[in-house]
């Protein structure tokens, strides 16, 4: 502890440089934590899905609907214990700058099949009874300042017109991957407004046993193989993964460019830290003359590098951990449940330790090995 004052005094030698170096480390690690969190959030979303839930979509592509009439035929298959369906609506609110997902669902079966959507019983009943009612995630409440019982009008983009819904309930997802910024409303009302087209975007199929998933999926697809709308059935996890893979290249690009930027910042930082130690050749020689051992001087220079790297790490990683929840960040709805995972913090801390070693080791070894007489001749 008695030596720590010496470390602090050295850090205070060029205060601006020390502050800028620490901020560089903090920025690099903040960027690192942010970019890695995009990847981990996408990966977590891809992992979402009840083991007993399958999703059936149009084999041609997700944007093509399936006939609503498929529902009863799927429900009749062996191993199927529950069924619901949903349709992407794509409505926008106000100027549409703040995007959120909204879709029409078969309300009763949907809430039954997704126990992760939790809301008070009275609100649930009110929603089920109200044909033009809507259920919203708690984030939308704060984001738009909506209130329970308020009428909310969306402008349809795929299905034109003004669509007014009453906010009957506010749900809290127990799994962050389900998103807390989604608006769902009754499929029946949707179907009526679009002229009884009888379409469903996708079906969610609940099965009796996880081990039956491949067989049930095959029997569903076999059932409609020769129809005008053949299906593609897979586990809900596979379904989520298709969304995640749409991000795949973007995620890879962000990670690669981001890590390159982080690496460049770290190199500059390491150089600044090494330069700071190099400037003190004479002082190190004086300390050696006084009796400071090679080992002690090595430790002092390493501690100095460590204080800078770890302060930067606390600011950068801690900042990322606190910043995103504080602004309720969810990547405009594309990154539900965005969070800086503990693994990211651990890797970030390891990066900081690596930085400390990279920037501290060379000057610390140099200080320890410095021949006193030559160094003093340089000073004197």
């Amino acid at each position: 502890m008695k030596y720590f004052r010496l470390v602090l005094a050295n850090l205070g030698r060029h205060r601006l440089r020390t502050v800028l170096t620490i901020l560089s480390v903090a920025l690099a690690l903040f960027l690192f934590a942010s970019l890695r969190s995009v990847t981990t959030t996408l990966a977590a979303t891809a992992q979402f899905g009840g083991a007993r839930r399958l999703v059936t979509t149009n084999a041609t592509g997700l944007v093509f609907p399936l006939p609503l009439a498929y529902g009863n035929r799927i429900k009749a298959l062996p191993g199927v214990t529950g069924l619901s369906w949903a349709n992407w609506f794509g409505g926008k609110y106000g100027d549409g700058k703040r995007f959120f997902a909204n879709f029409a669902v078969d309300a009763e079966s949907y809430l039954k099949i997704y126990p992760e959507i939790v809301l008070p019983a009275d609100q649930r009943d009110a929603f089920l009874k109200d044909r033009t009612g809507a259920l919203i995630g708690k984030r939308l409440l704060s984001q738009f300042g909506w209130k329970l019982g308020q009428n909310v009008t969306l402008q349809g983009t795929i299905f034109p017109g003004d669509w007014t819904f009453t906010v009957d309930g506010v749900y809290t997802p127990t799994d962050p991957a389900i998103g807390d910024d989604v608006l769902i409303f009754h499929h029946d009302y949707f179907d009526e407004r679009i002229g009884r087209a009888g379409i469903a975007g996708w079906y969610i199929v609940e099965i009796d046993d996880v081990s039956h998933a491949p067989a049930v999926a095959k029997s569903i697809d076999d059932l409609f193989r020769n129809s005008s709308s053949p299906t593609k059935t897979g586990t809900e996890r596979e379904f989520q993964a298709t969304f995640a893979t749409m991000w795949g290249n973007v995620s890879f690009l962000m990670s690669t460019i981001g890590l390159a930027v982080v690496f460049a910042i770290l190199l500059v930082t390491a150089n600044a830290m090494m330069m700071s130690a190099r400037e003190r050749t004479g002082e190190i020689a004086v300390l050696k003359t006084i009796g400071f051992s090679d080992r002690l001087l090595f430790a002092l220079v390493m501690v100095e590098a460590g204080v800078m790297a770890l302060t930067g790490a606390v600011l950068g990683l801690g900042g990322a951990k606190l910043f995103y929840p504080a602004i309720n960040f969810n990547g405009l709805g594309f990154l539900p449940g965005f969070t800086v995972a503990p693994s990211t913090l651990i890797i970030g801390a390891l990066v900081a330790i690596g930085l400390m070693l990279a920037s501290g080791l060379a000057p610390a070894l140099r200080a320890a090995r410095l021949p006193i007489v030559q160094a003093l001749r340089h000073v004197e």
Partner: protein, 233 residues
């Protein structure tokens, strides 16, 4: 008995392809409690001799003993610990750490001891008081005059109560008045506190303050140690 014993010491440096012999069999004794001035032209080996006594450098051959300990045979870590206990070194250009106050600079050698914070505080205050800078404890080197800086450096050199004080041109960068103050201080440390002092200097006036003068030329003692008027006082 001699405090510093230099026996048949050889020291040579390699500069590019040229070998420079500084000492070729130097033998010398310096007594405990003495105040010795090493004089001689540039390149005569004065500073090299000081470095050998301080254990900052090693002889090519021969033995350097201080207080009975063979300095020339110690390892780097042993030397560091030995210097902390036995050597107080003062440089021509003061070499105070600019980021530390006078107090903190003086405290540096004590950080290497097992003394408590309170004990360190007492010792630093005494050392600063002896050099007449008790009221400058919180000043940084840039806030001190050259003479005050050198007196702080002397306080740093005496604070751990070393066996011997080594000073390399301590008045080389000072004006006449500050030089006199520093030299008077050294005389006092020698007479009142019986500190053994070895000083390298070009300045004849400075050498007159010492009790003994050694003249070096090309690594040899060119005349026998000579007592000065100060020794007779």
């Amino acid at each position: 008995m001699a405090l510093v014993e230099i026996r048949d010491v050889y020291k040579s440096f390699q500069r590019d392809t040229q070998r420079i012999d500084v000492f070729t069999g130097l033998t010398l004794d310096i007594d405990a409690g003495s105040f010795t001035a090493l004089m001689g032209p540039s390149g005569s080996g004065k500073s090299t001799l000081l470095n050998l006594i301080a254990g900052l450098d090693k002889p090519t051959r021969g033995t350097v003993r201080v207080g009975g300990e063979a300095v020339s045979e110690m390892s780097a870590s042993q030397l560091a610990a030995w210097r902390a206990r036995h050597i107080g070194f003062v440089f021509q250009s003061f070499n105070l750490l600019p980021v530390l106050t006078a107090y903190q600079n003086v405290e540096l050698p004590l950080l290497l001891t097992r003394l408590s914070g309170k004990e360190r505080n007492e010792r630093v205050k005494i050392a600063l008081d002896v050099v007449g800078l008790a009221d400058r404890a919180d000043h940084y080197p840039r806030q001190l005059s050259g003479g005050q800086e050198q007196r702080t450096a002397i306080a740093r050199a005496i604070v751990a109560d070393p066996t011997v004080m080594l000073l390399d041109e301590p008045t080389g960068q000072l004006d006449a008045k500050s030089s006199q103050e520093v030299l008077a201080l050294l005389q006092r440390l020698n007479s009142e506190f019986t500190k053994t002092i070895i000083i390298v200097t070009h300045d004849a006036h400075a050498a007159e303050r010492a009790k003994m003068v050694l003249h070096l030329e090309k690594g040899d003692l060119i005349e026998k140690p000579r007592a000065t008027a100060a020794a007779l006082r």
